[in-house]
Amino acid sequence: MNDFFVNIILTMPLVGAYTMFALGIVFIYRGSKVLNLAHGAMAMFPAYVAYSAAQRTSVFVALAVALVAGALLGLGVERIVVRRLRPSGPTAQTVGTVAVLGLLIAIAARLWGTTPLLAPQIFPKQIYQVGNATLQLGSVGLFAVALAAAAAFIALFKYTDLGLALRASANNPRAAGLVGIDPEKTTAVAWAFAGVLAALGGVLLAATTNLHPYTLSLEVLPAFVAALLGGLDDVKGAVIGSIFVGMVIGIVPTLPVIGSTVGIQQAVLGLVAVVVMGLRGQRFSASDVRSGL
């Protein structure tokens, strides 16, 4: 197989993970105009819940428990932190999510310790040879679930009343209220959905790596760049952004000459993010660009 295509296939785990997380970030931004910097911790915490549940029950029940925990966590963060900070504006809300990030990491470290733990395996332990490297079935599964989640969310936003309500209440809460949409409820629903998505991503990613309160929470960082590249409130854009970020992190280090430069992936990502934002001018998200035209 051509080495270039092999390398593309080998980025699947990275693309899958970043897509899962970027979708959650987009969902929250679209539902409440808040950049949720606690998203990584909201993925990590339910993954630990799944770990504890799997000690007592089957893996799939543990996964279900984790998803419920993710939804509750999303609701809790929205109700306790984000909603209370709404009068202070989105900057205060974003800073509030940083506090949640620290708090969740601290609680997880306290409850489960900082020694890496072996997370429950959702997919069988199968390994595939791709080129000269290997891919776990869990990584392929993460990629497949991410694509399925992306398709589901695109459909949700495009074809359902809930999707329409979410967009309306985020863009203009007052107008949405006048047509009978409760912005508080739609925002809470957005956070609950994002919590489920984060939990799913966290459990699947932990299954292919391991459970650690800090590193798992920080795995989400490149997904912020993916979401930003995609326009922050655009599901399709988030998927494309995740593919780009996955490729940069996966393929750039294998390039001759520049590949061995320390920090080259981050430099490329940062540069592209700056260029994309520059091209967008004053507007930040894709909808801002569209609305400004």
Binding site: P90, P116, A133, T134, Q136, L221, Q266, D288
Partner: protein, 488 residues
């Protein structure tokens, strides 16, 4: 649809945060953590260890709790201002320097309980405590107990430097004991904090070259650079001519070891056919593995006679899981090698059949056949088990921490009743140190100094895919004939 000014400014602020985060994510594995003080002078807790006064879980050999050997040439009697102080009579000179009182002498150390290096450095504290607690049970050194304040720096140079600067400014500590966090002490050494304050660092792990250059640091272990020299030459002597290396470019041990390995291969006349630097802590290395194994001629390793894995355990586990050592059925013709950080039982268990036959290197005699019956080695194991029944006794960083503390105790013992920083420097700079756990070390005034430039190899053994233990490779202690070359 209109955009409100508040959401616009908020969004721009958030965008700034995102870009900053994306750039900083290169260093995620080294982010500071939330655990401040790990332990302040208290015995290290071990759920498996015997309670105070109880029986140790592993029986100590006869004499294991015997007196700490007082070396020849020690100075137990000192005269200060016409007064005679005699350690044998329990008379010391009291508060003779910073961190010293009549009853105790206080040290500090940054340790690694969080972050990417904890897999091979976290247990080092137990090695230190094994000596400290033993010495204190015997009444300390010249009537002074040894106290150590530990703090986690996550193996992060800037954080380590800040902590050490704080300790120096507090004027509560005599110096650093061992300081298992090589990256933490690196920050303080490279910024000249140590030498400017004349703050002794005694018995460090020697992982990085800068420890051999600072006049106030006395390392006990062989540097990563020296181990990579030895490993390359050993592989060459076994017939390797084409080499592959994967190394961690985020941390200094990887950078120095890589440079040393390449330098050795060049001097020997070999070829490096596959050379891949990775960033530790990444969630997938599949693409780099594809590149690395491809350059080595595929999973048959047709173009790599020998592969060096210069990674810390977590990254190495990920690397191997992504196929970085092939399929486990075929290996490089001469073999696979790794320096001290991968001489860790937990990593070998994770690696299983992929690491079967891999040679790992240490500058000490671990409690493994044929060394486990030697008195000094048996005593080391018993002392360590008394503090923690589960600590990895084979790990060179744990054993190095034990030996580093022995060096500290011996230097203090020789110094006698009136320890001072200048005094301990004078003692250490002319000291020959022999423990039975490592080749004799000769320290000197000049810098750089290389008290220990030897290493020997052990092979990881796997059967039916599972790690079975380590086997001595009968290499003997091999000298680094290129010590000091290829300094990063």
């Amino acid at each position: 649809m209109s955009r409100t000014p508040s959401s616009g400014s908020g969004a721009w602020a958030a965008a700034g945060i995102v870009i900053a985060i994306s750039l900083l994510s290169a260093f995620t594995a080294r982010l500071p953590t939330v655990e401040p003080v790990v332990n302040a002078s208290a015995p290290v807790a071990d759920p498996g260890a015997a309670p105070a006064g109880g029986e140790a879980p592993v029986a100590a050999p006869a004499g294991s709790d015997g007196p700490v050997p007082v070396p020849a040439g020690s100075a137990p009697v000192t005269t200060v201002g016409g007064k005679v102080y005699d350690c044998a009579k329990g008379h010391n000179a009291g508060a003779t320097d910073v961190g010293v009182t009549a009853k105790e002498i206080r040290f500090a150390a940054t340790v690694v309980k969080t972050g990417i290096a904890k897999d091979f450095l976290a247990d080092a504290q137990f090695g230190m405590e094994a000596v400290r607690q033993k010495v204190n049970r015997q009444g300390g050194v010249c009537g002074r107990t040894i106290q150590i304040t530990y703090q986690d720096d996550g193996w992060e140079p800037a954080r380590g430097q800040r902590i050490i600067e704080g300790w120096i400014q507090s004027k509560k500590f005599f110096g650093l004991a061992v300081n298992p966090s090589s990256e933490g002490v690196r920050g303080a050494i490279d910024s000249h904090v140590i030498r400017d304050a004349k703050f002794p660092v005694i018995g460090s792990d020697g992982q990085l070259i800068d420890q051999y250059q600072d006049p106030w640091v006395w390392p006990v272990a062989t540097s990563t650079a020296s181990v990579m020299h030895i490993m390359a030459r050993h592989a060459w002597q076994q017939g390797a001519r084409r080499f592959g290396i994967v190394w961690d470019q985020n941390y200094r041990f990887g950078v120095e070891g890589h440079k040393a390995f390449l330098g050795s291969i060049k001097r020997l006349g070999g070829t490096v056919t596959s050379d891949v630097g990775v960033q530790g802590g990444q969630q997938s290395y599949s693409n780099q593995v594809n590149d690395f194994i491809g350059s080595c001629g595929g999973t048959s390793f047709a173009r790599c006679d020998f592969v060096a894995m210069l990674l810390e355990p977590a990254t190495a586990t990920r690397w191997v899981g992504d196929g970085g050592l092939g399929n486990g059925n075929q290996r490089p013709r001469v073999g696979i090698g790794a320096p001290q950080p991968l001489f860790v039982d937990a990593f070998a268990r994770d690696c299983g059949k992929y690491c079967d036959g891999m040679l790992v290197w240490t500058s000490f005699k671990p409690p493994l056949d044929p060394f486990d019956k030697e008195p000094a080695v048996a005593t080391y194991l018993a002392d360590l088990r008394r503090v923690n029944s589960k600590a990895d006794a084979n790990n060179p960083h744990v054993q190095g921490a034990y030996i580093g503390m022995q060096l500290l105790v011996e230097a203090l013992t020789r110094l006698g009743p009136a320890p001072t920083r200048l005094g301990i420097k004078a003692v250490l700079d002319t000291m020959t140190f022999e423990t039975g756990l490592a080749p004799p070390m000769r320290f000197s005034k000049g810098r750089p100094q290389f008290p220990n430039v030897k290493a020997q190899a052990f092979a990881s053994l796997a059967q039916t895919g599972s790690f079975q233990g380590w086997r001595y490779a009968n290499s003997g202690f091999i000298d680094d004939v290129d010590a000091g070359k290829d300094a990063a």
